[in-house]
Symmetry: C2
Subunit: 338 residues, 2 copies
């Protein structure tokens, strides 16, 4: 029931995801009176879906603490409960991000060794993709949060992207060791010394995200959220300038017509829907946040992402890495303090 065009967009997205991956099964949680008519014309989805009725919803304006207290019968909460109960293997929501994080944390619990879960997403880059986290769950982060993000991001890159020893960069204002705030400097010290299943690249700068300099980019939630949206803005600005250019003269218009298939492919390449799906990492369960303003195509991407994470056993991989790293991390904690 979350997002700007729910439940219509969500149901259409589920149908699209099912067409691409017929092995999916859906538990649609929300207002049955609104959902049932949407399933009518969709025989495939109706056969693969169960509707669980509730008329309560988390509003986009609800604070996380409000949602947690008052939203026990909300569609979001019941969907997360279903994951905890093993009825579903993952939850995808286009609703209130803060509420989804708070409820997912409360119900699914944070993994052993993780102090705070993070929101993570794929980012398009020259020559590949990278995984960036945190994108907004944690406004203030200390070095241990950042190190844990590095481990989770690396486990993700290894599991879902198939990188054997993923490279990890810490987002900073320069590459030199002396640059940055205390948290990134201390995190770099830990990552340089710890024995982890990742290759610590060192500091990266803002432009390294789109260069895909590293497989994983680690940052605090404030910087990550601003950087992500700043890049979306820059990309839209470029699109807008490109449109201006193609309509600036009759010849340019003709040029566009000839190059149209290539421009369509370009549009698809920079389509933000391809990158829809913020993965809540660090929980004992799969929880994916879809953009609230996306459409069925974008929502289907978020569903496919959740399915990939389930198929690849991501939770098990991160848990194993955290168990392996538990020792190194506590050793480091002492080393840093001493």
């Amino acid at each position: 029931m979350g997002g700007d065009h729910a439940p219509r967009m969500v149901v259409a997205g589920a149908a699209l995801a099912l067409r691409k991956n017929p092995s999916l099964r859906f538990l649609l949680v929300g207002d049955e009176a609104a959902i049932a008519p949407l399933l009518k014309q969709r025989d495939g989805l109706r056969a693969a879906a169960e509707v669980r009725h509730t008329d309560e919803v988390v509003k986009s304006t609800d604070r996380p603490s409000q949602a947690l207290r008052r939203g026990r019968r909300s569609s979001m909460r019941l969907a997360i409960d279903a994951v905890a109960a093993g009825e579903a293997q993952g939850v995808v929501s286009a609703g209130n991000t803060g509420a989804l994080m708070a409820m997912s944390k409360f119900v699914l619990k944070t993994m052993p060794g993780i102090d705070r879960p993070a929101i993570s997403s794929f980012m398009p880059g020259i020559g590949g993709e990278c995984v960036m986290l945190d994108l907004g769950a944690n406004i203030d982060c200390d070095e241990y949060n950042l190190v844990q993000f590095a481990i989770m991001g690396a486990a993700f890159a290894r599991t879902v992207l198939g990188k054997e020893r993923p490279s990890v960069g810490l987002l900073n204002v320069g590459e030199e060791e002396l640059k940055g705030n205390e948290a990134v400097k201390a995190a770099a010290t830990i990552l340089r010394q710890a024995d982890l299943p990742l290759r610590f690249h060192g500091f990266v700068e803002g432009d390294d995200i789109a260069k895909a300099t590293t497989d994983v980019v680690v940052t605090d939630g404030f910087t990550g959220n601003v950087a992500l949206k700043a890049m979306e803005g820059a990309s839209k600005l470029y699109s807008s300038f490109l449109r201006d250019a193609f309509t600036s003269s009759p010849l340019a218009r003709l040029g566009y017509l000839l190059a149209r298939p290539a421009m369509m492919a370009l549009r698809e390449r920079v389509d933000p829907r391809r990158y829809n799906g913020g993965m809540l990492l660090g929980l004992n369960g799969i929880s994916v946040k879809s953009h609230g303003g996306t459409d069925a195509v974008g929502f289907a991407h978020a569903v496919a992402l959740a399915a990939d994470m389930i198929d690849d056993g991501l939770i098990q991989h991160i848990t194993a890495d955290m168990a392996r790293f538990g020792h190194a991390q506590s050793g480091q904690r002492q080393a840093v303090v001493s």
Copy 2:
């Protein structure tokens, strides 16, 4: 002598700036043996320039504190000294950013009412430009730093951009009042209540930068630097995808040829050299940082920017605003504490 291609690039940039603005006069500080030959073929610049010899330089790897201590005869320092002595009205350098800030602060002094100067730049946006600060001078900022950045940015927008009552946005992870870290929340409280020659818009998000939602975007130096570079990276990624698209088929190639003038205009529009020039705001003098890797065109932009700031009496305007606001700010300081 600073930057990747000095002094050749700097001299060529000065010559270009002079062609566009024949009223300029230059004091070129650096190795005379290297500079003199470059002036030989440039009669115009030679007539408008004086060379001040020194063989010391600030290296790009020098720490600001080192540069300050050991660089008293460096080209950067002598150029700033010339501004303090009234021999020059502003300094432009493509050298070490940290050293330029430290030396400019030490020599020119911070304005009354300003705790910390900031680096600021124009940003391209849909429907206009905005001014963003801080872009990297101050890694950690409190609410008073942010409020001072807002006043300086607004004075800049009023003076150089000609906006009578500039709108100011505080960069944050959401538009709601509850979002963000303590510094942005406290800064918003002050800006909402204070009587300032600006229109406080409230919080803006990363994508608002390229939308030019506000005339001024205020943020701490860590976030600002990352956002700026992330946007540059996204823009380059888009360029690279566009190049791929135009070379993907013979028809697309032909389309490019037809649209070529429009694409050249587009390239110029997104050309980072147009936005070269980080203005060090909050000092009793004009100091502009050019990108170290730019060419003559980019450097000429930085020179023109310095000249604009001088012609528009920016320092006087910011000083006057700070004097007017001094009262409001100290009143607020109490109000916030009580």
